[in-house]
Symmetry: C2
Subunit: 214 residues, 2 copies
DNA sequence: GCAAGAATATTGACATCGGCAAGATCACCC
DNA sequence: GGGTGATCTTGCCGATGTCAATATTCTTGC
């Protein structure tokens, strides 16, 4: 194994082309969007021939599926980061998760669309399915934190889960599309307060059940 | 003008190729999605050569832009239909509009994605801009109906508008993606009740301001 | 050590796509 | 009824995704 780190790109065998292609694909996606994504462009960016990706991903769909799965895991991580950073408890975890949802969409708009609004990834792929199920499980756990295991399993739990999810998703998708009209551009704190208020609204009475009714 | 209705497809000049191409494009979009959309496929479906669309729409983007504008107007009409069918008043108009929003997304998923989640239409196109502004104006009018012109112009009006929009959009986009887990498939009335409850949740206190607090 | 086979990457080919240019056909107007 | 502009076709080009054939390198067994 004669050091393959610096001289990797000069050799016939790349060394870690799979990871390099995922990096290249992410950058291509960022620059050109899902609809301008090109397998040959990825290969060029990674410095290999146009047919090289096939050995690692099969076809373009395979590469985009792997990228979507990778992005999905980062999406869950962004929500987790928010929850931990805020030390959120109870229903506050749902609010924090929603803000993390939007964080991810703003940071990686093309990846967000690849995951949620594209037919190109293979939704039956086991890795992608697992990533999606992990995201759903985290959401269910947050609903439990908000309502307790008893309520969370019932109709109110389902309603809360769907409402929080739909609100977060709607905000995120509209932000990516540049269609949230009153979101302040320069004012990060103001924007955050607005998003927080929108999330809180979707939670309804769940936000402060043990407190007095104001 | 020797009757051009039945024999139109046999002639060198089509007669109304622009409209025929829009029909063909809608069907192609429905079948293959935005990402599988093909200008040549549209031309084939309309029974003309592959270069014919250029004379009416310039390029593929032009055709998709015109289709998006057309779809946007239908999208507004779907919301209007709901509001009238329910005879909705006050904040109920926002709920009805949200249900119309979802109606459209379910009936025309690919068109919905073309409008809200695609970079291919030209968002600076005057016709498309006008359609978008009409949709926004209708939403503003519904907020006025819910809060009155006074409140609607203030911060609460902006918050209500964005919350209702984001909730409706989130539901619609998740439905199109097949990701609303608890939406009953066969039970139309149950599904409608669930969507209605989600919309109502996003409106917060605005739903029944003149009534007693239950 | 080293040869055989597997893994990895390249080259070349093909069908299809979007867009352009040149030519054919038709409608309309004076 | 002839000309002019609009409409449509044909042919072409570069780019793309995928496949087959080939070249290079790694690994494994002996």
């Amino acid at each position: 194994m004669p050091d393959r780190n610096d001289a990797a790109r000069e050799r016939y065998h790349h060394g870690d082309l799979r990871a390099a292609l995922l990096d290249a694909a992410e950058e291509e996606l960022r620059l050109h969007g899902v609809e301008g994504f090109t397998l040959r462009g990825c290969a060029r960016r990674a410095g290999v021939s146009h047919a090289a990706p096939a050995h690692h991903f099969g076809d373009a769909r395979g590469l985009l599926t792997a990228l979507a799965a990778l992005g999905y895991r980062r999406f869950v991580a962004a929500q987790e980061r928010r929850k931990q950073a805020e030390g959120a408890q109870g229903a506050g975890r749902l609010v924090a998760a929603g803000l993390g949802y939007v964080d991810f969409a703003r940071a990686h708009p093309a990846l967000f669309r690849l995951i949620f609004a594209s037919d190109r990834p293979d939704q039956d792929d086991p890795e992608l399915c697992a990533a999606g199920e992990a995201a759903f499980a985290a959401l269910q756990a947050d609903v439990q934190a908000a309502l307790g295991p008893q309520e969370a399993a019932g109709a109110e739990g389902r309603a809360l889960l769907q409402a929080a999810w739909a609100m977060a998703h709607g905000i995120a998708d509209l932000v990516v599309a540049g269609r949230l009209p009153f979101l302040p551009e320069g004012d990060a704190a103001g924007a955050e307060a607005m998003l927080r208020a929108m999330m809180a609204r979707s939670l309804g009475a769940a936000l402060a059940p043990p407190a007095r009714p104001s």
